[in-house]
């Protein structure tokens, strides 16, 4: 008997999958609306993205190719563990290459490479309710969504402008989907917000602890909230990636030594590697190769 024979395919039992699948279908039919579902215990802590894992487990089939990223990287403990989990319980092929994946489970980033039709991006969401920090009561936030009462959200953003001269929110920057629901894009940097708009890929969001699933179908309008006099802007970086020279990508700061030495490199490790393999070299990439 193999180890995998002790589990149902993709770990979840069929009744749970059906329940999650029904929630996913309604989420797709009502873009940006949070569908409640009965979250199950998974063999990993909540902080590891059990909502995303449950969504992936409910949609994945033997022919899928899975990529898992955490902050843009395929090689963090979280990403490696989730990839290994599905390789074991669903016997799927895994990859680090964005272009090869049919399902990409993510925490905190959207790949730099434009997603294609047929690809599915599954987000691990810690706090799905964008109005939660304004209103702690679920009954009230539900009412606000029902009545399309998003004035408080705009007030909060405008207070930012009054205080900082600009909207200070840089992560989990709220968006409006198809002109109706205000949605939390999960703690991705606002740099990634424009990638959600009219994406070719289906985007699914799972919040395990909060028991919510929501979705953005392909070719759906996703607009970051802003004001006429303070339009939405993404982060800009002063210099390109130190390893591959990429511009217009999201960069992470990496500390090099105790003396304050640092460099900025691609957060999307697959994109960086692909560029370096193609011969692109950044300012510190040359030195690295010469060592």
């Amino acid at each position: 008997m193999t180890t995998t024979a002790q589990y149902n395919f993709a770990y979840l039992d069929e009744q749970t999958k059906r329940m999650i699948r029904r929630a996913i279908l309604k989420a797709i039919a009502i873009p940006g609306y949070q569908v409640p579902f009965s979250s199950r215990e998974m063999p990993m802590p909540y902080g590891w993205g059990t909502g995303g894992v449950q969504v992936t487990a409910s949609i994945i089939g033997p022919d899928d190719v899975l990529k898992v990223i955490d902050q843009g990287a395929d090689d963090t403990t979280n990403a490696v563990s989730i990839r290994a989990f599905f390789a074991k319980v669903a016997q799927v092929q895994t990859t680090t290459r964005t272009a090869e994946a049919t399902i990409i489970q993510t925490r905190h980033r959207i790949p730099e490479r434009a997603l294609q039709a047929g690809q599915i991006l599954v987000y691990q969401v810690p706090i799905p309710e964008p109005l939660r920090f304004l209103e702690p009561r679920e009954t009230e936030t539900r009412k606000m969504h029902a009545l399309e009462e998003y004035g408080l959200m705009h007030v909060k953003l405008y207070e930012d402008i009054a205080r900082h001269g600009r909207i200070a929110t840089t992560y989990a920057y709220p968006v409006k989907v198809e002109g109706r629901y205000v949605m939390d894009p999960s703690p991705t940097p606002k740099f990634d917000n424009p990638k959600m708009h009219m994406s070719e890929a289906l985007q699914l969001f799972g919040a395990g602890r909060e028991h919510r699933i929501y979705a953005v179908p392909p070719h759906t309008e996703v607009v970051s909230l802003d004001f006429e006099d303070h339009p939405f802007e993404i982060q800009h970086f002063e210099q390109p990636c130190a390893l591959c020279g990429a511009e217009q990508v999201y960069l992470d700061e990496v500390i090099l030594d105790d003396a304050g030495g640092h460099m900025f490199v691609c957060s999307d490790t697959d994109n960086c590697e692909e560029r370096r393999n193609a011969g692109f070299v950044g300012s510190l990439g040359v030195q690295e190769a010469a060592e």
Partner: protein
Amino acid sequence: MDTILEGGFSSPVLNSQTAFRAVMDALANPGTVQKLVAPLSTHRRLGPELVSILLTLSDHDTPIWLDDTLRSDPAVTEFIAFHTGAPVVAEPGRAMFAFASAAAALPRLDQFNLGTQEYPDRSTTIVLAVEALTGGEQLVVRGPGIKDHGHINLVGLPEDFFAQWSANRELFPRGIDLLLVADGAVMGLPRTTRISEGH
């Protein structure tokens, strides 16, 4: 007629996954035709497409509504009870799923559960067998999941479907979602899809 023990999926876990992805792709890409997995065998009136979706999405947590033809056939109700355990309800307004073997047998769309403003996800998903998914009068579809616009050419829609669908669209975020099936395939029309005449 088969016995009720037969007629499920040959490989329930994997077939359900494949059929679900077809339904998911159908709703995420409205107006496109997605191939369904065929069950082992089917009943006279409960066609293979209805069976496939029934087995994939319903269980004892999902009240289902059946049209008169299906509900009056003991072989159909026994099959559903045995394979899914789903309670069959008489009122369309209580159904999570509705299965209709022909457009003529379908009540008006607004007779089904339309969901509430606070819980629009509680609305009925209607699964309707039509004559064909292609070959009919051309209609234009727009909305989430559709790049610019698409075309549908369904055969066998309800009489005043056009007006009923517009009324359903007006209810957003409330409203029913529609899965149309024929020839081993499914097409999705979620409540967000706008349908118009023209090219």
